[in-house]
Structure formats: C-alpha cells, structure tokens
Amino acid sequence: MNRVAAKFAELSVLGKKALIPYLMAGDPSVDVTLKMMEVLEENGADLIELGIPFSDPLADGPVIQKATQRALKNGFRMSKLFPLVEAAVKVISLPIVLMAYYNLILQYGTERFIQEAMEAGVGGLVIPDLPPEEAGEISRIALECGIALNFLTTPVSTPMRIKKAAMASTGFLYLVSVRGVTGERRSLSLELPVLVKKIKRVTSLPVAIGFGVSCPEQARELASLADGVIVGSAVVNRMVNDNPETSYREVGAFIRSLRQAINKEDILKEQRTD
C-alpha cells in the first residue's frame, strides 16, 4: 500500500478525517515552503499537497495563479523540487502529494520524474490536466514505484467518468466541490451530499473534497461528508506577507482552527455512532 492510501486507512481506523492543506512550492521561497510544511504538521495537517509552479495553470483561480507567478519570479525551477521534498521528509512525517501540470512531468521525463519522486520521498501525485484515459503509462510507473495517483472528479462528471477516475486512482479521489477553478467560495454546493453518496456507490476509495474551502465551518461541513478536506487558496492567501514569521503565525492559527472544527465533527460522529 502506498503512503497516501496508508494514511487514509490509518485515519479511518481512528475515525478521523484528513486535513490536507495546499502550498505552492517556492512561494515566496523554498526556505519558507520548507518551514511552512513544519508549521502545517505541528498544527494538525494530515497530508500536504504541494503545487509545482507552472505558468499556464488551467485549473487554478487567481490566488494560486499569483502564487505561481511569485514562485517563478523568485526563481523556483523543477531542479529545486526534489531537494525540497528530500529536506521536508527529514523534518516532517506527513505524506506529500505533488500537484503538477502534465507538461512539467512530460518534459522532465515521466519515468525519471516518478523515479526521483520516489527517491525523494513523495507520497502521491495529482495531475489536474491529465484525464484518466491518457494516464496509462504514468499509472504503470507510479504503481511500480509506490506513488499514489489521485484523479479529479466533479459535480458534473457522469457516473461513467467517476468510475474511470476512481479506477485509475490509488490514493484518494479528489472531488472538486464547486464548478470552476480553485479559489475560496462563500457557500458550498448544496448538491454535495447527494454527490458524495453517488461516488461512494461506485468506489470504496477515500474521497477528499477540495476547491472552495474558506473557513472552519465549511471544513467541518465537508469533513462530515467525505474522508478528507483540501484547503488551497485560503492557505495561500494567508501567506502574502512581507514577513514570513507573520505567515507562519497566520497559517498555523488557520490550520489549527480547521483541525478543531474537523475534530468536532469527528467527535459528533462518534457520539452519533455510539
């Protein structure tokens, strides 16, 4: 079992939901990203999604787009990615899931990318612009190397496509909670509970919901529906500070508040099942 699947299994035994914050690698610098990963772990994150900056980010909204530009402007290159992951796994024990646009992987060389990801200690991979039907080669190599692949599904996906995404995923299924690109939303889709049920009927994979979480209350709501919650733009938004110390403090407090809200849901659930 890969590390991502193992983490979800472990949480499930404990009756806990996964909190998965997102960071953009190299925003604003590799040093800050590294330190921030420690902050995330200390404050209750279960996995970390680490975005790789790409200047043509089809699936991302304005907040992540700006983070991309900051990271690229500050000199982040692919050559810095795996050294960053290697340094991170020395100080944190959470699985790291990379989010990479497909062209970055293609140009690096699919086999080399997965091989080096494994050696560096990467747990899993999200490739937002790679549909499952184009993923044959990378799926095979990732499986050999024990790297979890996690595909996206959406509220507008047909049952057939949900099944396809689930069958190709080896860690979790990444459910895009709101139609559109990444970014905070004020209210979450009302059809979500029905949708999660629909997904659970076709797969036993853990489902993590992302895109659009802006506050602890929403995190709690989503955690009640699925196995994990991914929080991206709301984290990245709290990192736009001149002083990194302020970012560590603000992000730390935010993650802690999300954790508490999600735990409350866990406790409620335990009481319900008692």
Partner: protein, 394 residues
C-alpha cells in the same frame, strides 16, 4: 483518411489535456459538431451566410505582374482578404455561432490576440443577437486600441486580462476559466485550429472552405492541381483550411510559413514547429516553444496573429509525417513582401499573410513557368499600415 482518431489525436498530437470540469463541456460541443455537420438544415444555413454575409467564394486571383516580375512559377492568391471583416477568421466564427445557436447558448466568449478573431466573433454575435465577451491581454488592448473599439462598436464587451504576461496566452486561460464557471449558457468560440478536442477538427472543418474552393478554382483555370500551397502558420487555421482538402493529393506540396521574427538565433521569434519540441499547452499536445523544464517561452513576431507558443496538432502531425514542410520568414522579409505585393499588385496584405507571400516569392523564382503556387492571402493589411510606416520611419 481517418484523422483525428476517436480521442481527437492526429498521430501523437491533439487530444484533451484539461481539468475534469471541462470534459462535459467539450463533450457537448463535440456531440453537437459531429451531429450538425451532417445536418442538411445546418449546411444550408452555413452556405447561405458564407455566400451572402461573408461574400464567398473568395476569388483565386492570378498575380500576373508579380509572376512575370519573379519569372518562375505562376502565383495565385486565394483572396481571403476580400471576406467581410477582411480575413479568413469569419469563416470559422459563422460556423461556430450557428452551432452555438443550435445548442441554445445565449452568450459567446472568445480570446483574441491582435483582435482579428475578436472582431470576427463580435461580428457573428451581432448578426445572431448573442451576448459577446472577448478576453484580450491588457498589453494587447493597448497595442490594438482600434480593434477594441471595433469590437465594442459591434456590441461586444472587451475584458482586459491583467494576469501573467497580459497577452494571448493569458486571455485563453481567462476565457477557459469563464467557460468552466458559465458553460451552461456560454459557448467558447476558439479562433484557431488549436485547443482541446474537438476544436482543432472543428475549426479546420469550417476553414476547409478555403481549400475546397481553391481546388475547384485552380482546376477550372489551370486544368490541373497546383504544385505548391503556401500559407502562414501561427495557430494554423488558414493554412490547415487550405491544406486539408488537398491532403490526399500527394503530388501537391504544402508549405507552412512560420514567423522567424528578429531571427531564429534570437529569442524573438515564434517559429513553433521549426524550433519547438512536443509539449502540452491550453489542453492539447503539439509542438511548443518551451524551456527545458516545460514552461512555455515568451514569443515574438511583428505579426500579432502569428505570435503563439503552440501550434495546431494537425500541423504538428503533418510535420512529423512529412506531409507538409515548415519554413520561416523574418520580420524584415515579411515587410519587404508586404511592400512588394502592395506596389506590384495593388493588394496590401496582412503582415501575417506577408510571411507566406515572402516565402512564395523565394520559391517561385526557382520553379518552371508551368508550375503553379497558391498562396493563402489570409487577411488584408490595413490594420498593419501604421506599424509598417513607423518601422520604415515614415
């Protein structure tokens, strides 16, 4: 010929590399395109507007003075510059707006670089009473202020895109974001034979009227197929429109002309097929100007309509299979051809099309008088006069 395959691949190129949210949107467009393509009513309406609104068929004009001055092959010009709005872009927007109407869409969005596709889209939307939103990089809105006004005059709303490099690439990203959010009532009218499936095939289909007419016309006057087809390649819609109907006529050679800008050994060019490597941009696989890590490179050409780091997937495939040949022309050579055609034939060509003219002049000189060349004169050059004047210090 069974291209593209079921998943929209032309050999190794094309396909769909898009976020899952876009898949149902593309499925809807694909289903509609293949259905209405076979629909008699649709074809009748398309033919009507191409004839009475666009002004088709466009003439295939024998450039006699130019031919005698060069002293080689006979040069024919496919006069897309004579279409309504002054370029080939309208062939595609009329086709797509008829499709959007049948899909029940009320709102059309599009990207534009120099503004040519934006104007063609705004025109089609005015004709069919559609709400029209055009995404244009902030940098381009400044450079092409007149076209912005033109689009607004036609009733479109022009959104100035302030992200990234503030040019065409970012305008496409913004348009796609809009589509993901609003696809229920919105149709994305892509302007070139690029993008995820089914766009490259669909745009080619609507532009193929260029090649279909040209073939008929040349057979009528020459009694034989042409020896060469020459067209400029940015995204590649006018060129694929001319080339595709000749695909199975193996004796017809096809030449795509890419912009070498200030020179291929400088960073200031947009010769994607010549200097690029396979990669993914805007949801499809193609030759791509990118750095060694997969970041798209900034591109440059005097011709804003050729200024794109990717290229159509079918051209990428033609390149690999050898069916077409791809060459380059610098800014300077294009300007010389722009002047030459104006002086000798009384036709001011778009600076984009001037690239094709420039290469044709070089080639024609080496050929026999029995041989023929068709150049796609994709647009007229009024829009470029001020810039060329400035460059010439006039």
């Amino acid at each position: 010929m069974s291209l593209p395959d079921k998943k929209g691949f032309f050999g190794a190129y094309g396909g769909r590399f898009v976020p899952e949210t876009l898949i149902p949107v593309l499925d809807e467009v694909k289903e509609a395109f293949y259905r209405f393509k076979e629909d008699e009513e649709f074809q009748k309406e398309l033919a009507y507007y191409l004839k009475y609104f666009v002004g088709r068929p466009s003439p295939l004009y024998f450039a006699e003075r130019l031919t005698s001055e060069i002293g080689g092959a006979k040069i024919y010009l496919k006069r897309e510059d004579l279409n309504h709005t002054g370029a080939h872009k309208i062939n595609n927007t009329i086709g797509q707006v008829l499709l959007a109407k049948r899909l029940g869409k009320k709102r059309i969005i599009a990207e534009t670089g120099a503004g040519q596709h934006g104007v063609a889209t705004a025109t089609a939307c005015a004709l069919f009473e559609m709400e029209c939103v055009i995404y244009m990089g902030e940098e381009d809105t400044r450079r092409q202020a007149l076209n912005v006004f033109r689009m607004e005059l036609l009733g479109a709303k022009v959104v100035s895109v302030k992200t990234g490099t503030r040019t065409l690439k970012d305008a496409v990203d913004e348009a796609l974001n809009d589509l993901i959010l609003n696809y229920k009532d919105t149709y994305y009218m892509l302007g070139s034979a690029v993008g995820p499936e089914p766009y490259p095939e669909m745009v080619k289909y609507f532009q193929s009227v260029i090649g279909t007419e040209a073939k008929e016309q040349i057979l009528e006057v020459e009694g034989k197929l042409p020896d060469y087809l020459i067209a400029c390649v940015g995204g590649g819609s006018n060129s694929i429109g001319l080339f595709a109907p000749f695909y199975d006529d193996r004796e017809v050679k096809m030449i795509g002309v890419e912009p070498a800008g200030k020179g291929l050994n400088t960073p200031d060019h947009a010769a994607t097929i010549t200097k690029g490597t396979p990669g993914i941009i805007h949801g499809f696989k193609c030759y791509l100007l990118q750095d060694d890590q997969g970041e798209p490179l900034p591109v440059y050409s005097i011709a804003a309509g050729l200024d794109y780091p990717g290229v159509g997937p079918e051209h990428s495939f033609y390149k690999d299979s050898g069916r077409a040949q791809y060459v380059t022309i610098t800014d300077k050579e294009a300007i010389d051809a722009f002047i030459k055609l104006s002086k000798v034939e009384g036709i001011i060509p778009a600076i984009e099309s001037s690239h094709a003219v420039a290469y044709a002049l070089k080639l024609a000189a080496k050929l026999d008088p029995e041989q023929t060349i068709i150049i796609c004169l994709s647009g007229r050059g009024d829009k470029d006069v001020a810039e060329v004047a400035q460059i010439l210090g006039k």
